[in-house]
């Protein structure tokens, strides 16, 4: 059975490479949220270092999914953005490294198992500067953004509950 065919209603996914510093900010945010929401049966938390098919397999079966990841897009380190799968429209047919990309994988599963695809997928990103220094801690500006995003997503989760 694939990992996502499930259980709880809300999944929070932190993406990143845990030994590549700011790249792992999504994982750090999810850990903060996990600390603040222990005991809530409607929440599940995952720390993942994958994309494409593997990522989509992990989110199947949940009603709502929050994905938190780092990006290098705006040049403003620490900037928080929200994306949805709609933002990746048009990349379904793009080639992807060694696996299929997120939009393509999502489109694939909509064709195979549409009922298992979450009805809400919200993607939050924090801008980082790509680096090749190996460390487990975040840089100060990204750490501040991580706290801010944890607060923001935490509030969103509260609103869903209410």
């Amino acid at each position: 059975m694939r990992p996502g065919l499930s259980h709880t209603t809300i999944l929070l996914v932190g993406l990143g490479n845990p030994i590549m510093g700011d790249d792992a900010v999504g994982i750090h945010v999810v850990r903060m949220l996990k600390d603040r929401n222990s005991g809530r049966a409607d929440l599940e938390f995952k720390e993942l270092s994958l994309g494409g098919l593997g990522l989509v397999e992990e989110i199947l079966g949940y009603e709502r999914v929050f994905i938190i990841d780092s990006v290098a897009s705006t040049g403003t380190v620490g900037k928080i953005c929200e994306l949805s799968p709609e933002h990746f429209k048009g990349t379904e047919y793009a080639s992807s490294p060694h696996s299929t990309n997120f939009a393509t994988a999502l489109e694939l599963f909509k064709r195979f198992e549409n009922s298992a695809v979450p009805h809400t997928i919200r993607i939050f990103t924090i801008d980082i500067t790509p680096e090749f220094t190996f460390r487990e801690a975040l840089s100060p500006p990204v750490q501040r953004a991580a706290f801010e995003l944890a607060e923001l997503v935490g509030n969103e989760i509260e609103q869903i509950r209410n």
Binding site: M1, L48, I67, P97
Partner: protein, 486 residues
């Protein structure tokens, strides 16, 4: 002079760039495959406790962490001078067979498949997995997803996670499997065998029964004659997990057979200033540049190379498919780069059958899966066959087990020279008088895609889009054309 640049290369983990230089007549004068990234894992690992290496090095890549994890674990066995119990070795090989299944399925259906199922010159909007599924049907697509996912489940049962397993420890593995898990693995394995056979038939129907594709596979544009390298068992059968490294010359004669620990006696690495990736070559032949043949130390370590260095496969259906490949192509060794896809499917059959064998082994649920190290750590080499070629991990430590030196030769590095040569050959064959279409460039890309190259530096991508830039310059490097795939 004009320059054609493919940057970044699509369907490639990490970043790569192909530059093709045209002469005044518009024909190919030279071609280079560059990797403009510096990784630094070897340096970063210095000073770490060596037992952390299987977990650290598996983070090199989100595609083949299992290969790094197992090679690293085998290196730890040597570092600590400890021999794992038989059940531990079998569990490692079982996990590794499942990994090969997932990886080869992904490559055939998602990376290589679009070129053949949709056609090498098909519009790029169709030349992808969604196009493949549209053509072969949802049922097949669903089966692809299921069998890839089932193989990852097997990895999770032994390794703890579907990706980045953490079971490898010096002297064995961290836990045995239960009878329930064994039975589940056996059931999955049998289904994987049937799916591998189905995939082979699909390859027959779509590729081998198409005369144009067979001509493409056997054309001179895709023939790169080099030495071949791969791991074989005592019967000289292909083995992914353990054995000796065998090298044959371009005519198929044995050149060397050695334990992985002796790799430095046989392999050296050449450095060029224009790329961060090194060029390994056979030390006793020497580096003669990016040229093939018996007098050049360039070798390849691919699924096809593995078949070329072996005397067969250790399981029945895979052995039959092995024989059919060589009988059909009429020679051994085979140097047709695109035949690597076929070899990969022979290996998919073998990995599936091996998974069945291991799942039925009476010893596989034996709880004795670790011998605790008692010796002072010092140095070790671990090697496995990664799906895309031979992988070496070499560690040195101080007496406390802190890493003092690391050398990794990863699969794609082994193939770097051969990849560069294959790209040049394809470019020379297809680009004439400056005519460069999207389809022609894809046929150049097919030359390196067959190697399933991997230059990962991060373990995930969310959008995952890797656009293809094609820039054509005149001899003064002014851009004449700029084509960009979205």
């Amino acid at each position: 002079m004009k320059t054609v640049t493919i940057n970044p290369v699509t369907r490639l983990e990490g970043h790569g760039k192909i530059s093709i230089f045209l002469n005044d007549e518009g024909n190919v004068e030279n071609a280079y495959f560059q990797v403009p990234e510096l990784r630094g894992f070897e340096k970063f690992c210095e000073g770490r406790p060596v037992e952390e290496m299987p977990d650290i090095t598996s983070r090199i890549c989100g595609v083949c962490p299992e290969a790094h994890h197992i090679a690293s674990t085998k290196a730890l066995d040597q570092v600590f001078h400890v021999e794992p119990p038989p059940a531990a070795k079998k569990l490692r090989e079982l996990l590794y067979s499942a990994f090969f299944i997932a990886d080869h399925i992904t490559h055939f259906y998602i990376l290589a498949g679009p070129d053949f199922v949709m056609g090498p010159s098909a519009p790029k909007a169709e030349r992808n997995i969604l196009g493949v599924i549209g053509k072969v049907g949802l049922e097949v697509g669903s089966s692809v997803i299921k069998h890839r996912s089932d193989a990852l489940d097997v990895i999770a049962m032994i390794g703890g996670k579907r990706i980045h397993p953490s079971c490898g420890v010096p002297g064995g593995v961290s836990k045995p499997i239960t009878e329930d898990e064994r039975a589940r693995i056996e059931s999955i394995a049998k289904s994987e065998v049937e799916f591998a056979k189905f995939t082979m038939k699909l390859f027959d129907d779509i590729v081998l029964k198409n005369k144009d594709y067979v001509n493409l596979i056997t054309s001179d544009n895709y023939a790169t004659e080099t030495y071949c390298m791969g791991t074989v068992d005592e019967q000289s059968h292909v083995n992914f997990y353990d054995g000796k490294i065998r090298v044959v010359d371009p005519e198929g004669h044995e050149f060397a057979k050695f334990p992985a620990a002796d790799y430095q006696q046989y392999i050296s690495e050449h450095v060029e200033p224009w790329t961060y990736l090194k060029f390994p070559y056979l030390k006793k032949i020497g580096w003669k540049g990016l040229v093939g043949g018996k007098d050049s130390g360039v070798y390849k370590a691919t699924p096809l190379a593995r078949l070329n260095v072996s005397e067969g496969m250790a399981t029945p259906t895979a052995q039959a498919e092995y024989k059919r490949l060589y009988e059909t192509l009429g020679q051994k060794p085979v140097h047709s780069t695109l035949a690597t896809h076929w070899a990969r499917l022979v290996e998919l059959v073998y990995a599936s059958e091996r998974l069945v064998q291991l799942s039925q082994d009476p010893d596989i649920t034996n709880p004795n899966v670790r011998n605790i190290p008692t010796q002072t750590p010092d140095e070790g080499v671990g090697a496995v066959e990664a799906p895309r070629g031979t992988l070496f991990h070499h560690y040195k430590t101080d007496a406390k087990g802190m890493v003092t030196n690391v050398n990794l030769i990863v699969a794609t590095t082994n193939n770097h020279a051969a990849i560069s040569m294959s790209i040049k050959q394809a470019a020379e064959g297809f680009i004439k008088k400056g005519e460069v279409s999207d389809g022609i460039l894809n046929m150049v890309e097919m030359a390196f895609r067959a190697y399933d190259p991997c230059y990962a530096c991060a373990t995930h991508t969310l959008p995952g889009q890797m656009p293809l830039d094609i820039k054509i310059y005149n001899r003064n490097r002014a851009i004449l054309h700029n084509i960009r795939r979205p």
